[in-house]
Symmetry: C2
């Protein structure tokens, strides 16, 4: 273990009150498969800045309310969307002086949620005119999105695709119980290509990610399918 002598250049202990701190927000990229396509939930802003523009739903960090970043994201999601969802994942943080005209420096911690499409009824929440599902490719290409949110959507999509590619199941997209056909179709829509049925099932079996629900079958127009659920581990 190598030690180096203390070299003091100048400044004293940083006093938290001496430095202005960034305007800190949480943004939530709620994604789902709607009409067979990967879509993201956008909110039309009711107020300036970017009034009338579409943005990711989000909100200001409240240090008096939030016990952690994760808790803050859950609170924002509850307030804006009326949802209380698991599978929230922190994606990244973005910060800079030009991100938000309201502040000299704005920092956003971005979370991602995957939900079954039915879960969200596009209805207005606090300070939101409207909610709508939007195809992710459109949202990424749309220069009219508020703030730097089209970049943030792009990052959310990339990381989600990468997860499915290595067969981290996009479990949030499906309800608690599902058939293997539904699971496979969900992955295929995300990746934009077909997967082989036998090897898909082989991999699932090897990794023991799901387990059949005894006796439960999904009936329909054709042969019934075994219903599965996530294995607790």
């Amino acid at each position: 273990m190598q030690l180096t002598p203390f070299v003091k250049t100048e400044s004293p202990n940083p006093d938290p009150k001496r430095y202005p701190m960034p305007f800190t927000r949480l943004e939530i990229a709620v994604m789902s498969l709607v009409d067979g396509e990967l879509q993201v939930l956008l909110a039309r802003r009711a107020e300036a800045p970017y009034a009338g523009k579409w943005a990711l739903p989000g909100g200001v960090l409240r240090i008096d309310l939030d016990a952690s970043l994760d808790a803050a994201a859950r609170r924002v999601m509850r307030e804006r969307l009326g949802l209380d969802l698991p599978f929230l994942r922190q994606l990244c943080a973005a910060g800079g002086p030009t991100r938000d005209p309201r502040a000299p420096w704005a920092l956003s911690v971005v979370y991602r949620a995957l939900v079954p499409a039915e879960t969200v009824n596009p209805l207005a929440g606090k300070r939101i005119e409207a909610l709508a599902w939007r195809r992710v490719d459109d949202a990424i290409a749309d220069r009219g999105l508020a703030f730097d949110h089209s970049t943030l959507v792009s990052r959310a999509v990339e990381s989600t695709r990468a997860e499915v590619e290595r067969l981290d199941l996009p479990v949030g997209f499906l309800p608690e119980q599902f058939t293997l056909g539904e699971l496979q179709s969900c992955c295929e829509q995300l990746l934009g290509r077909r997967l082989d049925k036998s090897s898909f099932r082989r991999r699932l079996a090897d990794r023991q990610l799901v387990e059949p629900v005894e006796g439960a079958m999904r009936t329909g127009a054709n042969r019934p399918a075994q219903i599965y659920r996530l294995r607790a581990d």
Copy 2:
């Protein structure tokens, strides 16, 4: 118990809500292979809180100096370690009311850097008593680390191992030029298991990640080895 309030610039449509913002810092997990083991660079704190304790080198976000989070991380690295390194990667953000006794709510954005061990010779920086390499397992297990930094180290290690697992090369660990044997050995030390030489080389060739430096050979006690460098892409 009032933290620095969000300072508003003039804005056409003022946000009526003013919230106290979190004490925002950058922490850098500089990792390297020292003596064949994965180690992390820790700094002994010269001042309270946690004076005398070991912590990740870090610093306060300066909205007057930093054009982005990445730039802030580079500045902190320069100030604390006298280094200006590429391969800085944002890992995650952590936040909460009990993370730092100086502030009612502290947020840290954590970055990771991989460096060749030799790089960190000019060890000197602001407000740091000493710098030392520490085995990552020790740092993670050590409850005496300042703040929540042993948790942060743990996350840095996990994500680095996962990257190497999918053959994102830990290029930072090696100097600009290296032999394939050195590269493989570096990955093996990170993963803690031996890799197969032929398939390691085959994957490298397939992905065209490295290219030989014509005519350059590493000579030594045994057969000389071709020297490689990263391919620009």
